[in-house]
Amino acid sequence: MAQTQRCAVLVFPGSNCDSDLLKAAQAIPGWNAEYVWHTTESLEGFDLILVPGGFSYGDYLRVGAMAARSPVMQALRKEAAHGVAVLGICNGFQILTEAGLLPGTLLPNRSLKFVCEVSPLEVANAQTAFSSRYTPGATIRVPVAHGAGNYFCDAQTLERLEANGQVVFRYAEGQNPNGSLNNIAGICNASGNVLGMMPHPERAMAEWMGSADGRALFESLQDALN
């Protein structure tokens, strides 16, 4: 019998994927998911922290910049340092890079257009807590919806990410929607407990949603947390 896992879904002013993410987490047996408001100063006791997509603070200054400096992110930083699993999706990824928990940053899409489509992704590393249920190199279908998903970092950081296997998801060759370096769609930190990705696995939880390929990401976490 799986033990119960406590799962936080952070909510910032302007988050808009929090409800989808909460429902995705609630669909995983044994997970007890709840919303946590951005002014909260402690995340003690949570086994998993989810940072949802949206347009926190209206994308003022830079995408994710204001949310990254909020009290709950100080708490998140503390838990992440203790090895608690953190997943940031879309704006959540942008927030994690702005908070310095993941290297690099997300620039406006090279096309300057907002992209909203189901994009084929390659599972570049299936040996992480977030991807163990996928077949290495498999192509999965997960939607993207963003205006600033163009992953950028300096050359040394990129080399380090590749060498360490920190690139977990890539857009399929020739189908990069935003111009990101090395077709990067999602990366994890060196310790492997923090992952940020632009595509939305919470929008691909069942066939009736158009794809059920996102579900294995949450199930991978389920394995890792048990």
Binding site: A65, R69, F152, D154
Partner: protein, 81 residues
């Protein structure tokens, strides 16, 4: 005192907005345009006893929030009211 922080993308970071503006300028007949870079300007009114102190405060603000050092550079100007 007033501080003016000018934030620009680093030279090696592709500025897609600047490129789009450049194309528009060309289509309007401004054929002399060679390159356009876009940035932002942040004005901060603050209390400080000297321009040097104001500058030190502003540098702290740039490092902690106003500038993302991965992709941006900045320059500072302190104006006495």
């Amino acid at each position: 005192m007033k501080g003016v922080v000018t934030v620009m993308l680093k030279q090696d970071v592709l500025d897609v907005q600047g490129q789009a503006i450049q194309r528009s300028l060309h289509s309007l007949g401004f054929d002399t345009v060679q390159k356009v870079r876009i940035g932002k300007s942040v004005e901060v009114d603050l209390n400080a006893t000297s321009p040097a102190e104001a500058e030190a405060q502003l540098r702290g603000m740039c490092e902690k929030l106003l500038v993302n050092g991965v992709i941006e550079d900045y320059r500072l100007q302190v104006l006495e009211n």
